[in-house]
Symmetry: C2
Subunit: 216 residues, 2 copies
C-alpha cells in the first residue's frame, strides 16, 4: 500500500516527506494549492476538518498533524531505514522534548517571520506587519542562543544522533536561510551553523526540496 | 527512585501529574512560584533553559515539555496503571494526532483566554486585551465545533479509549468551565459536555486539582 501525502509543497508536509524518505517508505503526493484555498474545500475538510495540510492516507487509515504522522511512521517502521527516535526510551524522551521545543518555541516565531516576509498574501489583510517581523526575529534569537549552547554539547538536538527533532526544523529554517536574507541568524552561531550544514545536506532533504517547491 | 516534578501548581504541570497518577508512578513536587518569577531564576534555568514549567528529574534524567514528559512515562510504564497510548500503533497514531490538535488548535486560544481573563499580571504590560479575549473565544468556538462532531462518533478524542490526548485538555478546560464563567462553551455542546463530564470526574484529575491550586 503506497502512502498518499496531501499538500506536499507546504512546509509542514515536508517534515513528513523527509521522514518517509529516511524510513524508505514509498509514497505518492496529492497537490493541495493553499494559495487558491483548496485546503478549505469541503472535500478536503472531510479529511482534515481544521483545514490544515498535510494529511496522509494509508489504505483506510487517515492521519493529520505533521509531527504526529512523523512519529507514527518512525515507530511503525522502527527497524527500517534510519532510526529517528533514538535507541533507548531515555533518548526517545529527549527526541520528544526537542520536537516539542521546535513546535512551541522555534516554530511560532519562525512561522510568523516566514509568513510576514515571504507569503503576506496568506495573512487575513494581506499586509505584512513590521512589528511582528521585529518581535519574531527577537524571539528567534533567544531560542537560537539556547540551541547554540545545546549544540555545543551534542551534535544534534536530542543527542549525538539524528532524529525527528532535527527533521522538524528543516522546512522553516530553509526559508530563513535561503529565501529571506536572514541566514545570519544561523551563520553567526558556530554550533547552530554546523548543525544546519549537517542536517540540510542530507540527501532526503535535498530530494524533497527540489521535488516540491513552495508556496508555503 | 521517586520522580520530582517542578512547578506542580501550573496548568501544564498538571498534565504530567495526572499522567503519573493514572500510571501509578510515585512522585514528589518542587514548587516554583511563577508569579514571583522563580521560573527565570538562574538555578532553574540550568534545568529548563527556556524558563518554562514543568520539568521532571528522575534520578539523573531531566526532561521538560509537559507533553513530552507524558509520552515518556506512558511508554516507559506501558503495562502499569491505565494504558494511555491506545492498544495498536494505529490507535497510538490517533493519540498523537489529537495531542497535536490540543497543542496547536485548542491550547493557543484557551491559553490566551485564561491569561487575559484570570492572570493578566503575567502579561508583559499587565493589562488584559478585550480584542484578544474576543478573538480567542471565537477561535475556541470553531475548534469545539469540530470536537463536537468528533465526539459524536467516539467517546474520547482518539477513539473509544481514554488517552493522553484527553488528559492534555484538562487543566485549561477546567479554568474555562470553573473559574471564568465560560462553561457555556462546553455545556452548549452535547458531546463535548458529556466528554468533559467523563474526563473531569476521574479520580486522578480531582486528586491533582485539590492538591495543587493555581496560580497558572
Amino acid at each position: 500500500m503506497v502512502v498518499k501525502v496531501y499538500g506536499p509543497h507546504c512546509a509542514s508536509a515536508k517534515r513528513v516527506l523527509v521522514c518517509l524518505v529516511e524510513k524508505e517508505i514509498e509514497f505518492e503526493v496529492v497537490p493541495i494549492n493553499v494559495l487558491k484555498g483548496e485546503h478549505k474545500d469541503p472535500e478536503y475538510l472531510k479529511l482534515q476538518p481544521f483545514g490544515n495540510v498535510p494529511v496522509i492516507k494509508d489504505g483506510d487509515y487517515t492521519l493529520y498533524e505533521s509531527r504526529a504522522i512523523m512519529r507514527y511512521y518512525a515507530e511503525k517502521y522502527r527497524s527500517q531505514g534510519v532510526e529517528l527516535l533514538g535507541k533507548t526510551i531515555e533518548e526517545k524522551g529527549l527526541v520528544e522534548q526537542w520536537l516539542e521545543v521546535e513546535a512551541h518555541s522555534f516554530n511560532p516565531p519562525a512561522y510568523n517571520l516566514v509568513i510576514h516576509v515571504l507569503f503576506p498574501s496568506l495573512l487575513v489583510d494581506g499586509t505584512p506587519d513590521p512589528k511582528v517581523i521585529e518581535e519574531s526575529e527577537a524571539k528567534l534569537v533567544k531560542v537560537l542562543n539556547i540551541y547554540e549552547e545545546r549544540l555545543s554539547k551534542n551534535k544534534y538536538l536530542a543527542g549525538d544522533f539524528f532524529s525527528l527533532a532535527d527533521i522538524s526544523h528543516l522546512p522553516f529554517t530553509d526559508y530563513i536561510v535561503n529565501n529571506m536574507g536572514k541566514d545570519y541568524l544561523i551563520k553567526e552561531r558556530k554550533n547552530v551553523s554546523a548543525w544546519w550544514d549537517d542536517i540540510s545536506s542530507r540527501p532526503s532533504w535535498n530530494k524533497i526540496l527540489v521535488s516540491y517547491r513552495p508556496p508555503v
